[in-house]
């Protein structure tokens, strides 16, 4: 199930919250588990099993690790079992098709029949199956066993509490990547306060608005432009298209994270922040400290630091960064586009670390912003085109390959999407937040009560967009 459907908002959510609030404290985690399973099976009625297997293995790995406290070898075996198992699930479900394709390409023949693969006798089509959120829940679940091994967290003996951590529905499909450490305390003991619910509702509605009102609206422009024959696309049109995607992915992804954080608060959890105005960054390194923060910190904690981070000399630091950014690319999807996308970020970040960072600090901020956004925008081309040649052609079009600078349709797109673009530009800066703070200082009740009206209005408007998704007049049946 996804948050932006009427069934979630007006059936699943009210029912779950009512039961959750009524339930005695001791059984709240059980309600989380049940609602999470229903939530996940609604979209993945079969692969919910995959999630449960991952959960069970990590739970038992934790128990066994705890039993052998102080003994390195058995603990290490438990860790290896957990990591191999989680990465194995990812490998089979997410990467097997891609790996097979490339083996075939290198071999120059059909060594592996992609349309007829099997895993321990179970046949599957690797291209058609990717359990929703598998990249998120495997990483979340792994964080428990790794942290337990490193001694950062205590063992979770209650299977329901551990399963509740993995199946906690707000963050199950699209992050943020909540580490066990982040919620360990709240999992066993949390208090739901009026302040927390209030903050949660605001965060949730803002997130819903970002996704439903902004991301979907601007996204339709990218969908339209992406579908055009590139040969006749003007420079302006191609820029408008990729700018539309630049905004779409930010408002979509950060909207989902906001909704997750908001829902978490309503249930008494404080999830980590996932986005911090990334498009205001002045360098690529800064961008990645503000974009999908929980992913970056996951790789930092569990890959970069264990490899030695920057403590083993410059060459080793560069290598470590390269590994992390290659993996970041791979994590986003099984295709060369993502690998190149992540690796190029790695290259830029290494260059910034070596010398560019110091240069940027001396330059005017406007130039730093342009430099950062230009790279980010070009990166999105790689991120959201079908394959490398298409990405190359698109970038060529952006720099004039079609020989048309501006045409009528570009002006039409610009005029019909101008207001949406303006909303996007303002919305991805901290201006709205600053404005609210300013008004709050002058007149707090205005923010408090005006805020209620704005939130209610936004919820109503989002509802209209959700209902419209299935409005489907079948008009020509009779004509």
């Amino acid at each position: 199930m996804v948050f932006s459907t009427s069934v979630f908002l007006y059936l699943f959510l009210p029912l779950t919250l009512i039961i959750y609030y009524i339930a005695p404290k001791k059984s709240k985690n059980f309600i989380i588990l049940l609602s999470g399973l229903l939530f996940y099976s609604w979209g993945e009625p079969i692969y919910v099993v995959v999630m449960l297997i991952s959960t069970m293995i990590d739970y038992f790995a934790g128990l066994v690790m705890n039993k052998f406290e102080g003994r390195k070898l058995p603990r290490r075996i438990c860790l290896i079992v957990s990591v191999v198992m989680n990465l194995g699930l990812l490998g089979v479900f997410k990467y097997s098709g891609f790996i097979a394709e490339n083996i075939n390409a290198i071999a120059g023949q059909q060594l592996i029949d992609i349309n007829n693969m099997n895993f321990f006798g179970i046949e599957f089509l690797p291209m058609n199956m990717l359990p929703i959120g598998i990249s998120f829940f495997t990483f979340q679940s792994m964080s428990y066993t790794i942290d337990l091994y490193l001694g950062n967290v205590k063992v979770q003996k209650n299977p329901i509490s551990f399963a509740a951590f993995v199946t906690l529905f707000p963050q199950i499909v699209a992050g943020p990547i909540v580490r066990y450490d982040d919620v360990a305390k709240e999992l066993d003991d949390r208090t739901i306060t009026i302040d927390l619910i209030y903050d949660g509702i605001i965060k949730f509605i803002i997130g819903l608005g970002k996704k439903v009102l902004i991301a979907n609206s601007i996204g339709s422009l990218w969908t339209e432009i992406k579908g055009l024959d590139l040969g006749g696309v003007s420079v302006l049109t191609s820029w408008l298209g990729i700018l539309a995607f630049t905004f779409q992915i930010y408002f979509d992804f950060s909207g989902y994270s906001d909704m997750a954080v908001g829902l978490g608060k309503m249930m008494g959890f404080n999830f980590p922040k996932n986005f911090d105005y990334p498009y205001m960054s002045k360098s690529i390194s800064e961008f990645w400290r503000r974009w999908h923060i929980t992913l970056g910190s996951w790789f930092k904690s569990y890959v970069y630091f264990p490899l030695g981070g920057n403590r083993k000399g410059l060459p080793r630091t560069v290598l470590n960064l390269a590994i992390v950014w290659f993996l970041t690319g791979v994590w986003h999807g099984a295709s060369w586009n993502f690998i190149l996308w992540g690796s190029l970020y790695g290259v830029v970040i290494i260059i910034e670390k070596l010398f560019l960072g110091k240069v940027l600090k001396k330059l005017p901020t406007a130039i730093c912003s342009i430099y950062t956004m230009l790279l980010v925008i070009l990166g999105w081309v790689l991120f959201d085109t079908a394959d490398l040649p298409t990405a190359g052609n698109y970038i060529a079009t952006m720099f004039g390959a079609s020989g048309i600078l501006v045409d009528g349709s570009a002006l039409y797109y610009l005029s019909t999407y101008a207001i949406t673009f303006i909303i996007c530009i303002i919305g991805c800066t901290d201006l709205p937040k600053k404005a609210v703070e300013l008004v709050r200082k002058k007149c707090t009740p205005l923010v408090n009560y005006g805020g209620i009206a704005v939130m209610a209005g936004m919820l109503v408007l989002c509802t209209a967009y959700l209902v419209d998704q299935t409005y489907n007049p079948f008009l020509y049946f009779n004509f």
Partner: protein
Amino acid sequence: MSKQKIHKILLIVLFSLILLIIPIITIIKSVNMPAKPFSENENRYLQEFPKFSFDTVTDKSFMQDFETYFSDRFVLREEWISMKNNFDRLLGKREIKGIFTEDGRMIEAWKEYDETSVNANLAAMESFAQKYKNVNMYFMLAPNAQEIYSDTLPANCGAANQKNFIKMCYDATPSIKGIDIYNSLAAAKEEYIYYRTDHHWTSLGAYLGYQSAASVMKYNPISLDKFSIEHASNSFRGTLYSKTLDDSITPDTIDFYTLANGEPELSMTVYRGTSANTYDSLYFRDYLEKKDKYSAFLGTNVPKLEITTTIPKESDSGSLLVIKDSYAHSLIPFLTKNYSKITVIDLRYINGALSDIDVNISDYQSVLFMYNVITFSEDTNVKKLNFMA
């Protein structure tokens, strides 16, 4: 309770109320609905409660159908959709669900078409015409409001040129005489020739088609002043309205044009499946009380209609076969003044040979293909003529 918390509690209460009231009313509403609810506006039956079984759950059809079920019964469904369309307009979008609303009228946007399919249809028509050389063949392709009112559309919105399309179609069928009706419609663009809320032309628009065809089809058109106009309904909200749900556009008027000094006697037989019903009028007034008011003209689309009219011999042009879409429904009342025998067939509803429904082309003196550009460009049935006749 501390003062700082009042607004927080207020928001929580409001949020809870919205989240509770909407589903509760929706559930009450669905419980009280008839067994098979039909949406007149969307012209379809609403999704029924899906079957719950192992198979429907594992293939996710239960979940998908349930989402449609819930959304179909959502409280104030059309009001929500209308709100969304208004907000889109506020954001500067001018095209909503493929429809432009400009200058007080809704215009269906036509941007591209499947060339292969159109060419296959045209080729089938041409070889059909060559096969029946003794029958006079005519082709009337009516432009849609988009072409006539193209100047009101936003610049560069991607609307394709229908005039060129019509010329291309006529050129591809040299054995069929093309009827140019574009000019007379364009000249009358200030008149009420297209519905504001529906994709059809009005009776006046159809009359202009009738008048333009006269010189090609060689009949004497009855002049407009001989007709009396009956405003049969002035609350028609058509198919374009169903999509935009924009109440700001004035509802349309359905006009019946009848001869002022008395309509000729006629009988119309409607063939639908194995049934055949005969009427003495071309108009089904029952539909004027329903949503689908355009169907008052000759009823809804059926495979075959036969109309025989008693007209003086000197003004009778004989027998005519009309192969058509629904634009023809408002044209045919005029044609009955000049053709004593008209058979109307709709290829979309015929799958066997034409002889199976007792249509033999050689029995007719003339054949008229009557389509509008959008329907014709999307049609996949005209090419069936290759094996039908």
